[in-house]
């Protein structure tokens, strides 16, 4: 299992979802990816994308104007 970060700051939905999708294609099952975003739309869109594609959202944290979403690859 390895941990990764993805910078999706200043991107508007659905670009953070697309970047997440493309990044996860390169990871292994069980890996953790933290996506760092500024568009509040990701709070709905990334968890929905994860549910329909079999990945698990481990945490959603708001840090100032940033949102950090940690995903475990399924």
């Amino acid at each position: 299992m390895s941990e990764h970060n993805l910078n999706a700051r200043n991107l508007l939905c659905p670009m953070p979802v697309i970047r997440t999708q493309d990044c996860i294609k390169t990871l292994e099952k069980g890996d953790e990816l933290t996506v760092i975003c500024t568009d509040p739309g990701v709070v709905n869109d990334i968890p929905t994308w994860c549910r329909i594609n079999g990945h698990e959202v481990l945490a959603i944290q708001e840090k100032g104007r940033e949102i950090h979403i940690t995903i475990q690859v399924g």
Partner: protein, 347 residues
């Protein structure tokens, strides 16, 4: 033994593609969705930008539809490749800058490529004959199938009975009798189908899902190309056309004025790329200046910026103009009276 038959569906997030998938799913076909991101999509980010929309749900309808249907959704960034569709549409534009027929051909073509790369068998769209846009006319629907290269692997489940038999029907993968014959702009058949399927919540965007069908947006894109001297754009250009008021006093420059906090925050992310104006002794919006303004133009831009702030009725206010080289000038200006701003300056 034949492997399980698989179909890829173009998912817009609206009701028609949702119904089309359900019709095919109910025939035992495995369906996955694809959704193309062109940069002109109305979804998501437009809600995210404006603070006044914060209370509204910001769901992405394509993702939501996929979840309701229990299918995977692949969102594909086609921003770069899509430029040629917008700039050089072989079949021309619709009422505004919408190249609907070229767009549909392009998207079905990309879906065909995806189908082939992923070993899927056919393509589904939610098209309905006779419904807007122009790509759904009786005479244009065969063009989409042919020019996309999808040919008889393109199935339109909502109006298939009005069209020639497709490969999946001929092969017996799907039953033509269970497909539909909807035509025209009325929505009653779709609403009735939605009820039968138990879909109580679905998106029906009144203005479509693409900014290119919007007159005001198209005017701004046209202005961008005219003043750039060529039909060219980058993603940032077309995103900025969605945000704020745009005023063009002359061919050398235009200004972009945030209308509220969310838009100001969004424009703030572009201050590195534009000269900009901030209020110093009043509250007001951030204003980006696009083009090559001379000193007189910058003063005019500052007066316009002041008009949109709390000091609009003052004799004089102070603004700070930051130029592209980072230099800052404090300027005292008289806010331009509303009545003195020609309406044709508003794009």
């Amino acid at each position: 033994m034949q492997d399980k038959i698989k179909a890829v569906a173009l998912i817009s997030g609206g009701l028609d593609s949702m119904l089309a998938v359900k019709v095919i799913q109910d025939q035992g076909i495995h369906v996955e969705g694809i959704n193309f991101y062109t940069g002109f999509c109305v979804e998501g980010h437009t809600h995210a930008i404006r603070s006044k929309d914060k209370a509204k749900p910001k769901r992405n309808n394509a993702l939501w539809v996929a979840e309701q249907l229990g299918i995977k959704l692949h969102i594909i960034d086609i921003v770069e490749d899509y430029k040629d569709v917008v700039i050089n549409p072989k079949h021309g534009y619709g009422a505004n800058m919408n190249p609907c027929l070229d767009c549909k051909i392009f998207m079905v073509n990309r879906a065909r490529t995806w189908m082939e790369e992923n070993n899927f068998d056919f393509i589904i769209t939610g098209e309905v004959m006779g419904q807007r846009p122009m790509s759904q006319r009786k005479e244009t629907m065969p063009k989409v199938a042919q020019q996309s290269g999808a040919f008889d692997r393109l199935v339109r489940p909502l109006c298939a009975k009005n069209l020639p038999e497709t490969l999946p029907e001929k092969e017996g993968w799907i039953d033509r009798d269970k497909l539909h014959n909807i035509t025209g702009r009325g929505r009653k058949p779709q609403i009735s189908m939605a009820k039968d399927f138990g879909f109580n919540d679905f998106a029906q965007p009144a203005g479509g899902c693409c900014f290119l069908t919007d007159k005001a947006y198209s005017n701004k894109l046209d202005d961008l190309w005219k003043n750039r001297g060529e039909k060219r754009y980058e993603l940032d250009d077309i995103m900025l056309l969605k945000v704020g008021r745009h005023l063009r006093p002359n061919e050398r420059f235009k200004i972009m004025v945030g209308r509220e906090e969310g838009e100001n925050n969004y424009l703030e992310g572009y201050t590195y790329a534009f000269s900009h104006i901030r209020p110093l002794d009043y509250t007001g919006p951030l204003v980006l200046v696009d083009g090559a303004p001379n000193a007189e133009d910058l003063r005019l831009a500052a007066r316009l910026a002041a008009r949109f702030g709390s000091g609009r009725d003052a004799e004089q206010v102070q603004v700070e103009v930051t130029q592209l080289d980072g230099s800052r000038i404090a300027m005292h200006v008289k806010p331009m009276p509303v009545a003195d701003i020609p309406l044709e300056w508003y794009l």
